[in-house]
């Protein structure tokens, strides 16, 4: 195995371009699981550990190297809430937002927030920069359009409302991979966006449910019931070792409604 640790972003992009099929290494919390289980043997590892450029974070930008431990202190309530549900303190100290994007698990905890906020993923390579909306970036379970020579450098966040909620269903409180996850953002005029994880090949938006919730500033119980019903109808879950499609469909409606109710308080 070849291991390189570039000291600056430009050097990292050069390294990614120079090798055939390089593996970027950020916090290691996904990659090393695969390595330890002998599922993966990377030939070339490009460490991102020394790249301070990736750790920049402000209101409109989160660098790929920002850890979930830092994101626990986010001003965005949903972002702070989701960060606290990632793994354990040990995992959050190492795991990064860029890693969550690169792994692109349908259960990635940051993805519902990024999808609800209509974030753009920014990729760089020696050939230039690509700026892709979240739904252009994720194309399937653990599949993105990132080329091997490209590095995820961060996400751009458009302005988003203060009323936000993240909710996740799992088999226990800590150290859990989601069975359903959900983020709701609602602005003062009532416009609502709802994104769900673990209930489709990639994170998805429930646009029919968004229409129902967006129609009024004050929502009635009937509206909330219709919202819940539509979320359950719009998700595309499968049955796997963590849960059944039937349970996920039901739970998606329930958690989405709860998240919306939190935004209404």
């Amino acid at each position: 195995m070849e291991y390189v640790r570039p000291k600056a972003l430009g050097e990292a992009l050069d390294a990614l371009a120079a090798f055939d099929d390089p593996t970027p290494l950020a916090g290691g919390t996904d990659l090393m699981v695969e390595v330890n289980l002998s599922h993966r043997r990377p030939d070339v590892v490009v460490s991102l550990r020394a790249l301070d450029e990736l750790r920049r974070w402000d209101d409109t930008w989160i660098g790929a190297g920002v850890t979930f431990a830092r994101l626990e202190g986010a001003d965005d309530p949903a972002l702070a809430q989701l960060a606290r549900t990632v793994g354990s303190p040990q995992i959050r100290a190492a795991a990064t937002l860029g890693g969550n994007l690169g792994t692109a698990s349908p259960a990635g905890d940051s993805l519902p927030f990024l999808a609800a906020a209509d974030a753009h993923v920014v990729l760089q390579s020696t050939a230039g920069e690509r700026r892709l909306r979240w739904d252009e970036f994720f194309v399937g379970p653990k599949q993105t359009v990132r080329r091997p020579d490209e590095l995820i450098v961060g996400v751009e966040l458009p302005s988003r409302p203060e009323r936000q909620a993240f909710a996740k269903v799992g088999v226990r409180q800590a150290m859990v991979i989601s069975v359903v996850s959900c983020c709701v953002l609602r602005d003062p005029s009532g416009v609502t966006r709802v994104a769900l994880g673990s209930v489709g090949p990639t994170v998805l938006r429930a646009t029919g449910a968004e229409e129902v919730a967006s129609q009024a500033v004050r929502l009635t119980d009937t509206d909330l019931e219709e919202f819940q019903r539509r979320v359950s109808a719009e998700v595309r879950p499968i049955t796997d070792h963590r849960s059944t499609a039937e349970y996920r469909r039901h739970a998606a409606g329930v958690v989405a409604r709860r998240a919306l109710e939190r935004c209404l308080r």
Binding site: L25, M32, V45, R49, G87, S88, Q90
Partner: protein
């Protein structure tokens, strides 16, 4: 490649061939077997160490990527003659059943009390949420950490 580390205040080095984890290097190359390995997926916390000031699962740190880092293992917290307050409290409270998870719990608890001198009970639980004890001995562990908090 040669990996240079500061482990428990001493300069150490190890030759790594490829994908070995920091856990492997600590145990197999440096003989520091206090740090345990179990799940190797970051779920159990038995391999917890302090790496550059943060508690991490050493099984998920590629040893090559730890080159130049400062590592504290359970061996670096106290000695049999001069136990760390957390270790003393674990002994006093009998916060050990089979003992396999104990080093990871002690490292996580020691780090908590070094970064937050007055943790609330829920903060203690949160700090230990990545350390599994399958003997289900958490009650005594929580009492021990509260006792250590008072002693420190």
């Amino acid at each position: 490649m040669i990996v240079q580390l500061t482990v428990n205040g001493e300069d150490r080095h190890a030759e790594v061939a490829g994908w070995e984890s920091l856990l492997w290097v600590l145990r197999e190359d440096l003989g520091l077997t206090g740090t345990k390995g179990a799940c190797e997926q970051g779920e159990c916390g038995s391999c917890s160490v302090i790496l550059d000031g943060e508690v991490v699962c050493s099984c998920l740190v590629m040893a090559a990527d730890a080159d130049g880092a400062d590592v504290t293992t359970v061996e670096g917290l106290g000695t049999p003659e001069d136990l760390h307050p957390v270790q003393e409290a674990f002994v006093a409270e009998g916060a050990v059943q089979c003992g396999y998870c104990t080093p990871g719990l002690v490292v996580a608890a020691a780090h908590l009390l070094e970064t937050n001198r007055r943790p609330e009970p829920d903060q203690i639980r949160e700090a230990l949420s990545g350390n599994l004890c399958r003997c289900t001995g958490y009650g005594a562990v929580l009492r021990a950490i509260e006792a250590a908090r008072e002693a420190m």
